[in-house]
Symmetry: D3
Subunit: 64 residues, 6 copies
C-alpha cells in the first residue's frame, strides 16, 4: 500500500526511465501522503500503440 499503475504507449521506454518513474512515483506518495516506501508498489505497463485510442483514433506513436 499504495499501488500505482502507470500505463504508457510502448515506445522504447528505457530501463533508466522506468527506474526514474518508480523513484518519482514512490517519492510522490511519501511526500504528499506520508506513505511507507517499503510497501509502495509501482507497476508500469507498456501498451502497443495500435491498442491505444483517443478521440476515436488509434494512437500514431509520436511521443507527444
Amino acid at each position: 500500500m499504495p499501488y500505482i499503475n502507470i500505463k504508457v504507449t510502448d515506445e522504447q521506454v528505457t530501463k533508466e526511465q522506468k527506474q526514474q518513474l518508480i523513484v518519482g512515483a514512490t517519492q510522490l506518495l511519501v511526500d504528499i501522503l506520508s506513505k511507507n516506501p517499503k510497501t509502495t508498489h509501482v507497476v508500469i505497463e507498456e501498451i502497443p500503440i495500435e491498442n491505444w485510442g483517443v478521440n476515436g483514433k488509434q494512437y500514431l506513436g509520436t511521443k507527444k
Copy 2:
C-alpha cells in the same frame, strides 16, 4: 475522461478490428453520456489464452 479498458484473449485481433473497437467504444460514451471524444481514451489489452480462466479452467482459445 472517460477511460475504457477492453481485455480480450490474444487471438489475432487485427489492427482494423482494434480501430473498430476504439471507434465504437468512443461513440458509445458520446452517445449515452455526451462525453467529449477528444478526452476519451480506449486501451485494448490482449491476454495470452493460458492466462485467462473461467469456470476454473484455462481458456481453450476458440473464439467463442
Copy 3:
C-alpha cells in the same frame, strides 16, 4: 471473456444509462470480434470528480 471496464466521473449516471452502456459495449464485442455475450462482462466505475485529473488539474465536473 472479454472484460470491459469503463471509468467515468461520478456525475449522476442513471441506471438506464448504465444499462445502455452495458448493452452497447457487449454488442461491440459481439459485432467486431464475434465474442459470446454470455461471457462478456462490463464493469462501470464512477470516480468522484476531485479524484480525476487531466492536464495536471482536478476535473471540474462539467459533463464535457
Copy 4:
C-alpha cells in the same frame, strides 16, 4: 495518454492532497517521458481499509 491509476487506502485524503498527487504524477510523466500533460490522466481510487490486505492481513489503517 498516459494513464496513471493511484490506489490508496481511504483515510481522509484531502482535496488538496489529491490535487498535489495529480500535479506531481502529471509532471513526472512530462519530465521523464516528455508526455503531453493535456492528454495525461490521473485517477485516484480510495479503498476502504478492510478491503486492503498485505501479508495475509487486513490493513489496520495507520497511515504508514
Copy 5:
C-alpha cells in the same frame, strides 16, 4: 509483489469474508509461486450491482 485485485458485486460482503479472501489469495500465491506474503497485496473492490453487466444485462443481485 504480487498484486491481486478481486472485483465482486457489492452485496454485503462481511469484514470476516474479506479477511478470508485476503488470507486465501495470499496463501495461493505462496503455495503455487513461492511468493513472499509480506509483499503480497490483495485489494477487494465492491461494485454496485447496477454497474455490473453480463450477457448485455445489468446484474440482478442474487448471489449466484
Copy 6:
C-alpha cells in the same frame, strides 16, 4: 462475476502453475462467497521485472 486479476512478475510461470492459480482463485470465491464458478473469471498478467518497483527500486527478479 466475479473478476480476479493477478499481477506477478514475468519469471517463467508455467502453464501448469497458471492453471493452479485459476483453480485456486475460483475455488476461493466459491468457498467464501458462494459465487458461481461458471461466471468467475481469472486473468493473470505477467509484468517484466524492470517494470515493477517497490521501495523506489526496480524489482531484481529473485522469486521471493
